[in-house]
């Protein structure tokens, strides 16, 4: 039925590893966009989720973004690009509101949601590894995670990285 190869059969296939260390809505995009695009281009991709990147593997995602302490974050508003003063960003509820607005903007512009990208990554056989140490440290259970990721540590990652053409730390 499916004739598309992911490249794993080709001896010349390139490979990429990505260490995913951040878990906010904005930081979730680079690793998933790169992983899915590379997989579409026949690259063998491995994503290692550690520290704040680990919750990106949870079944239910409710990713948040904050303007607080985020001076580069300037959103299109009223014809200009505007940032929010830190003192406003610190008010309870503002993060949640900004996250909703960001998600609406993403949807409106036809950009994929993280859930969609994650699904596409799994479909394209992107290998996902959950950092065992982080699972212990932050008391996450494997049952709370999506199906697919395996557990591993730094050495498991290192072996993959040593053989990869591209290694990214995000």
């Amino acid at each position: 039925m499916s004739g598309g190869a992911t490249g794993s059969a080709s001896a010349n296939a390139k490979s990429m590893s990505i260490i995913v260390t951040k878990g906010s809505l904005d930081w979730a995009y680079p690793p998933f966009i790169l992983a899915t695009t590379a997989a579409a281009m026949n690259v063998n991709v491995t994503m290692f989720f550690t520290f704040y990147g680990l919750p990106l593997l949870l079944k239910k995602l409710n990713l948040q973004v904050t303007p607080l302490g985020n001076p580069g974050m300037k959103m299109p508003m009223m014809g200009m690009h505007m940032g929010l003063p830190n003192i406003v960003g610190a008010i309870p509820g503002v993060d949640a509101a900004c996250s909703v607005m960001m998600k609406n903007l993403i949807k409106k512009k036809g950009v994929a949601s993280i859930e969609e990208l994650r699904e596409a990554a799994i479909e394209s056989d992107v290998k996902m590894i959950a950092c065992q140490m982080t699972m212990d440290l932050f008391e996450y259970k494997l049952e709370d995670m999506i199906e697919g990721p395996t557990l591993g540590g730094a050495a498991a990652y290192m072996e993959i990285a040593l053989k990869s053409d591209i290694n990214l730390y995000i």
């Binding site: 499916s2 695009t37 026949n42 036809g110 950009v111």
Partner: protein, 75 residues
């Protein structure tokens, strides 16, 4: 020759490429996939995608703000 159509208008990077990859799985060798997109970045993206996957980019044109790509599956 079978020509499949993928409407990726209104979708932003990397969706046009991801959906094209998925659609190409159903295209037989020698068949073509026509992609319509509005993302200007998709012009360079589809060139790179075809170079990387070995498929042939037979056409890459623009009509107002709609880009049209025709990809021939070679393998």
């Amino acid at each position: 020759m079978m020509n499949q159509l993928l409407d990726a208008k209104g979708l932003n990077c990397p969706l046009p490429i991801l959906k094209a990859k998925k659609a190409l799985k159903d295209v037989p060798a020698g068949g073509t996939l026509e992609v319509l997109a509005t993302d200007p970045g998709s012009v360079a993206d589809f060139q790179a995608f075809c170079r990387a996957t070995g498929h042939e980019l037979m056409e890459s044109t623009q009509d107002n703000d709609v880009y049209r790509f025709v990809i021939k599956r070679l393998n």
